[in-house]
Amino acid sequence: MAEPQKRPRPSSHRRIVGRPFRRVDGNDKVTGRTLFADDLDFPRMVFVRLVRATVPHAAILEVRTAAAMAAEGVVAVLTGEDFQVPFGIMPVSQDEHALCPDRVRYVGDPVAAVAAVTEDQAAAAADRVEVAYEPLRTVSGIEDALGHPEPRIHDRGDGGNMHKRVSMRFGDTDAGFDEAQLVLDDVFFYEGSTHLPMEQHATVAVPEGEDGITVYSSTQTPHYLHRTLAKVLELAPSRIRVVATPNGGGFGGKSDPFNHELVVARMALCLGRPVKICLTREEVFYCHRGRHPVLMSLRTGFRADGSIAAQHLRTALDGGAYGSYGVASTYYTGALQTTTYALDTYRFDGVRVFTNKPPCGPKRGHGTPQPRFGLEIQLDKAAERLGIDPADLRLNNLLPAETTTANWLKIRTTGLRRCIEAVVAGCGWRSRYGRLPEGRGLGLACGCYLTGAGLPIYWNHMPQSAVELRLDRGGGVTASCGEIEIGQGSDSVLAAVVAEVLGIGLGDVRLSVADTALTPVDLGSYSSRVTLMVGNAAIEAAQRARTLLADAVAAQLDVPSDDLVFADGRVFGAADVDRGVSFAEAVCVAEARNGLIVTTGSYTPPRSPGRYRGAGVGPSPTYSFSAAVVEVAVDARTGETETCHVWIAHDLGAAINPVLARGQIEGSVYMGLGEALMEEQTFRRLPRHRSGALVHKMPSMLEYKSPTFGDMPPVTTYLVEDPDPAGPYGAKEVGQGPLLPIPPAVANAVFDAIGVRIDEVPIHPHKVLAALESRERGGEARFGPRQFPEVDFGETLIVPTPAEGGDGAAINDWRSRMRS
């Protein structure tokens, strides 16, 4: 391989942003000082254990608690009768109860809760709660749910066991397919997987004052938890304080308000003493909210040059027992198909069904890795059929910057071309793709992700993020923000941005975060929103403080305030460096002049041009892009796929801290490889004589296979920087997007290695062997689903595209026209 030319790095006069620095929570994390929720201890604290359903679908006839109540150490037992008010993360899906009042919907659904003086006592007493059930038919999967509308798992939704169905068409897809020279029709399946954060969920609730409560919890969304607690406990929000403790990993799995959080809060209020729960690892598998299993039908019409004239995607999501984020998840399976390649017309139909399994929800990439898997494999198939190199097929059809897509998403900057060029050059694609020895292969795929959702979970016009700064006379700055550190480095982003603007050190910034009583609202660590939204709010707050200080110092030194520089802990004249004051003195001068220096900054995303029903899912201030090449070795005797190397390039706009950005990218690669090759949240039937229940196949870390040190191939990571005007210092998201290209790149590499298509994940050895055997028998050189079920998706919204002169609204929906 010739040594590729290197792109020069942009130089920077910045002191902190853009340079690698020790994360601000680094010392605490390596010394054991970081306090996670289960590390908290309070005087008189008692412990809760939940009693969970042992059957997948049943009416509750009776919950007998007397024996548990009489057990040693027990101080309280609660049941569904104590929780009349339903909840759920989405306003349209208020379908959960803290403890099931009358029906259980999956093995693991909480029915009762026992509090005792010790954890051992709570666990022993929980075993003495007896629940009498009347079984109902179990709904086990997508086809089962579609084929059996009765009994309904919920009395709400879009009929039978359909939770949500959507249908929308952007442009004249029929004409597009007529125009196409090659139409590919494929069915793909993406198995469900779970987040598996190393930290088990834990919550401590502590009574405060006369009638208040503080809830410490490992949650990614303290603001939404705050609202849910107020609703379920029927308590004024002012009496509730939620403190999100640093999350020991989240990945989306701690984004819902959970049963156990509500239960311990109610217990603490009843008992007047602190109450803690820490879920067992098995229970974490039941909480789930992970990747939806999705069956997909993808039909795409290509022109001879590989450009796409029309696409029709149909998705069916196995949602599990409750709504969770599922309405959004359903839309997300269709929303981002249009953002990477020029696509003239597009149709999307989606349905989410209820099944008697733990609820699915948002996992890293939320609803988008599944259709991305189908799209990127189908592009590979089209390239083969059209005789175009897969890299060129993509490069020739890239969506340009500053485009409004067929489904009305506004794309701003895109570094996808540079991403593809980087991985193609890095892996030696031009000389190696299609030319490696049998059993060895390269696969390419791309991806795109949001930098924060355009809309909040509940409808409102307020900012999505806010930062408050208070400057003290010693030159310290306290930055308050509702953002929550889940490992992604959000604390470091906040501190770095404030320190950069004010020209002080990271150590001069003290953080107060994730506390609904003390910090302004940030909506939470989800949808890759934090760096952009918190960063922009922090810049605004810091610039306001800087202006106050500059005006005061300018008056004192008699220099124009515009000439003042804030750097190295000083405020000084640009022309005369010696003429200046320390930052602490500047604060004192400003405080003497103005009173206490407190400033705020807020961020609200721009409005999106789409105005059709469903247009709220998909918009973002800007999008990140990624490309990956995976090299694999496939053993045709065993069917085993080994990853040999991954090249990943991610357009992150600009890195706030490159070493942490690299960690986010490689962590995404890791999780993508896990989903591609091994991870699956699956279920099995117990034998009939043992109740026939539908149970989790492997609720343990040993049996749920995830990649270890030995499974990780070398990874070459390229940070592609092209500052985006929408982001703080040009930064876009980096925490989720890089997962997206990995699973399809693995599947495409398997094809390059041995010539068979595996159209589903995980790519287990038996699937590879089945595809090889099928080919040998003269059948399809493929493994994967064959059929997509018949689904009534309801009336299709007709939305003219920007190219057709549309206005962003549907022509056949009077409601969206009324709004416009």
Partner: protein, 179 residues
């Protein structure tokens, strides 16, 4: 439930602790001794998160009975720094983003420390092998391996040697194809 009393030596500090006889070392460290730096991920011996050192060897504290720890030297993450000075492994983990959420970090640090004590020049394969029983969901592992390698160089006296630029910035982006 019967209680036992044991004299335990934790991070060089002897202390007498009473606890239920069936309690694991993990429980006694976290609950009776309030040393919550040691974390738990499964309490079944599957994830490595609760790794501590017993007489210098890594042990899954969720599978060890505290009652059997008399007279043995127990080391946890709280005992790793020298006063206010971080151990080179800790510093490397903090600087290289080897700790993201930080939850698996104490266990990783303990396992890595025992390896470097045995073999300061451990190869990448040996690091992979030694840490293979510790799961991390955040990093993709490479930053952890690089942190251990960097700390090893530091410990063996090669002070001042910084990891190469791509460790911090990612690989240099190629602009043209190698055709």
């Amino acid at each position: 439930m019967s209680e036992v009393v044991r004299r335990l030596e934790i991070n060089g500090e002897p202390r007498t602790v009473a606890f239920p006889v069936h309690h694991t070392l993990l429980e006694v460290l976290r609950e009776e001794c309030r040393l919550t730096g040691t974390k738990h991920g499964c309490e079944l011996g599957e994830c490595g998160t609760c790794t501590v050192l017993v007489d210098g060897r890594p042990v899954l504290s969720c599978l060890a009975l505290a009652a059997e720890m008399s007279g043995r030297s127990i080391e946890t993450v709280e005992g790793m720094a020298d006063g206010g000075r971080l151990h080179p492994l800790q510093a490397a983990f903090a600087d290289l983003g080897a700790a993201q959420c930080g939850y698996c970090t104490p266990g990783m640090l303990m396992a890595a420390k025992s390896l470097l004590a045995r073999d300061p020049a451990a190869s990448r394969a040996e690091i992979d092998d030694c840490l293979g029983g510790n799961l991390c969901r955040c990093t993709g592992y490479h930053l952890i391996v690089e942190a251990v390698e960097w700390a090893a160089r530091e410990l063996s006296g090669a002070a001042g040697a910084r990891p190469p630029r791509e460790v911090f910035y990612g690989a240099a982006e190629p602009v043209s194809d190698d055709g």
